[in-house]
């Protein structure tokens, strides 16, 4: 069977797993953002706490993906949630913690104290300073964190197929176990393409959301 015939034969399966892969990432994204961005805000003015949170989340990231999935399965098994979407979403959310939290923290702290002082001096209240000054000035860096987390999520989600959540990992792992290199190659190519595509789309979104005055073109 040639490569193209193979593609045709697996067409439906490829489309199915592709969308499952995206589904896993899209389900994880809100959890990741809703957990990490507020966490970043919370630690932004508490340097000691920031150190601890960032340290812990970087420890999380050093756990190999496969091991993290395994841990999830074990931990969730008593609740009968050990297989399927739950462990996958949880693992990806945990992996996203560091890039998003750290970038949110950095973003909020890179806003020049002089800008904040000027805002206070002009009579903006604390919440006005947050919403009108700090957040708009932080968006590009926070978005970059979300982008990193998403791209990471695309690759980590490959392991989801091992816990029964499906996704493009199916081709890679089944391909390996059947010694079917075409299958492995297809999985790898599509995952890579998806990563590149997500990165590109997020760059576009970042550009749209970046306030005019911060863009480096005159």
């Amino acid at each position: 069977m040639g490569f193209w015939e193979f593609l045709q034969a697996y067409q439906d399966k490829i489309i199915l797993e592709f969308f499952r892969h995206i589904k896993i990432i899209l389900f994880s994204l809100p959890f990741a953002v809703l957990l990490s961005v507020p966490l970043g805000f919370c630690i932004s003015s508490r340097p000691k706490m920031a150190k601890i949170v960032i340290y812990l989340s970087s420890v999380l990231m050093t756990i190999p993906s496969l091991a993290l999935f395994a841990i999830m399965v074990v931990l969730l098994a008593p609740m009968k949630l050990g297989l399927g979407m739950t462990p996958a979403i949880l693992a990806i959310t945990l992996y996203s913690l560091l890039p998003i939290t750290r970038n949110t923290y950095i973003a909020l702290n890179q806003v020049s104290p002089k800008t904040i002082e000027a805002a206070r001096g002009l009579g903006l209240s604390s919440s006005q300073i947050l919403w009108k000054i700090k957040i708009p000035l932080s968006i590009p860096v926070i978005m970059a964190g979300i982008r990193n987390a998403l791209v990471l999520g695309v690759s980590v989600a490959t392991f989801a197929s091992l816990v029964g959540a499906g996704g493009l990992g199916y081709f890679i792992f089944s391909g390996i176990s059947r010694a079917n290199l075409k299958m492995v190659a297809i999985g790898a190519v599509i995952v890579s393409g998806l990563g590149i595509g997500v990165n590109y789309l997020m760059l576009l979104l970042e550009d749209v959301l970046t306030p005019m005055g911060l863009k480096n073109k005159s």
Partner: protein
């Protein structure tokens, strides 16, 4: 009395930044704060708009204690400009200037008019409204910072080394337009500086601080002529009698004789006649709005023949330049009579070298009598 500081003390932990400060600041005047780094200038300034709360003492504005006012409201009624300017990088020039009016819920139409008005005041083209801070030079950003502080027409303006980061040449220009602006708006300005020449040039009064205390607070003239102690003398530097010259503005020395005024298209022959009759060496060319376009000079050649030369880019003195600045322009250009213009380029008359010399002689006499 607009602002009154009463026994103000500020301690940070154990360190005393400001110690028992008493001061009265009059309406419509420029008060310059000067002193060594860390002497408490910024701290004093920030206590007025409550960015810092005093440890003890009271600050009154219009006789009312600032503690009784809501901090945010108080700040909206006081203009504030800092060295690093602190323009909001994600806001256009328009949005930056509109910050306080928007906080005060002005109608957008009124805001737009105000922004136009302020851009004109700080001599920026209306097209600047849509630019972003990143696209502006340091001097332009500083002008926007000033416009932003003035947006809601506050009675009081606090400025913390606003021109500190600007190169000397542009700083001189900003000084001139700053004085020009103040002439129009007559705000009560408290201005922190490191530069004694800036303090002398801009200040009606100077407050000299050292280690958190007020060493001397007087009219600029009084400080120059009667420094209270060695510290003040050292701060003023050695060339005090020349510095006193810089107290005198060019506009007080403008004369309207010894030159001729002409339009761009006037007849050469009759102009020459007129110049001969009035013994003028220069004729200034003005447009219909009285703006200086250039000058014509009558030069006598070796042959004895006289010739008219046109100079479309003459050296000019701003009417807010002080006599030291006017003098140095004369020395540089080798002219003993220079045209004086307003900030908007309007011709005001001329200033003569001989008049500056007369003033130097008078100042020296005054100092000698004092020294004797």
């Amino acid at each position: 009395m607009l602002i009154e500081l009463k026994n103000i003390t500020k301690k940070f932990d154990k360190q005393t930044a400001v110690k028992d400060l008493n001061m009265k600041i009059e309406k419509g005047s420029i008060t310059m704060f000067i002193g060594p780094s860390g002497c408490g200038k910024t701290t004093t300034l920030k206590m007025i708009n409550r960015l810092i709360e005093p440890t003890s003492g009271d600050i009154l504005i219009h006789g009312k204690s600032v503690v009784d006012m809501e901090a945010v409201k108080l700040r909206r009624s006081i203009g504030y400009v800092i060295q690093e300017i602190g323009l909001f990088p994600h806001f256009s020039v328009y949005e930056n200037i509109a910050v306080v009016p928007r906080l005060l819920n002005w109608e957008e139409k009124r805001i737009k008019e105000r922004v136009d008005e302020l851009l004109h005041l700080v001599t920026l083209d209306p097209s600047y409204a849509q630019k972003y801070p990143m696209q502006l030079s340091g001097g332009e950003q500083q002008r926007v910072g000033l416009a932003r502080a003035l947006a809601a027409d506050p009675e009081i303006l606090l400025m913390d080394e606003p021109f500190g980061a600007i190169d000397p040449i542009n700083r001189l220009k900003l000084h001139d337009s700053f004085l020009e602006i103040q002439e129009e708006i007559k705000k009560t300005i408290i201005f922190v500086t490191h530069d004694i020449n800036e303090a002398i040039k801009l200040g009606d009064k100077i407050a000299i601080m050292n280690k958190g205390t007020l060493v001397q607070y007087d009219e600029t003239d009084e400080i120059l002529h009667n420094p209270k102690n060695e510290f003040v003398e050292n701060l003023l530097g050695r060339d005090r009698s020349l510095k006193a010259l810089s107290l005198e503005k060019t506009k007080g020395f403008v004369t309207h004789e010894g030159y001729v005024i002409t339009g761009p298209n006037d007849d050469q022959g009759s102009l020459r006649e007129k110049m001969k009759k009035t013994r003028s060496e220069q004729a200034f060319i003005l447009d219909e709005n009285g703006r200086l376009l250039g000058r014509k000079i009558l030069v006598t050649k070796k042959t004895g023949k006289q010739e008219m030369i046109q100079d479309s880019n003459p050296v000019v003195v701003d009417r807010n330049n002080n006599l030291v600045e006017a003098l140095s322009k004369m020395l540089e250009s080798g002219e003993h009579q220079l045209p004086v213009v307003s900030g908007r380029g309007k011709f005001m008359g001329v200033i003569n070298l001989s008049h500056i010399f007369a003033e130097v002689t008078a100042a020296e006499a005054k100092n000698t009598i004092k020294g004797a």
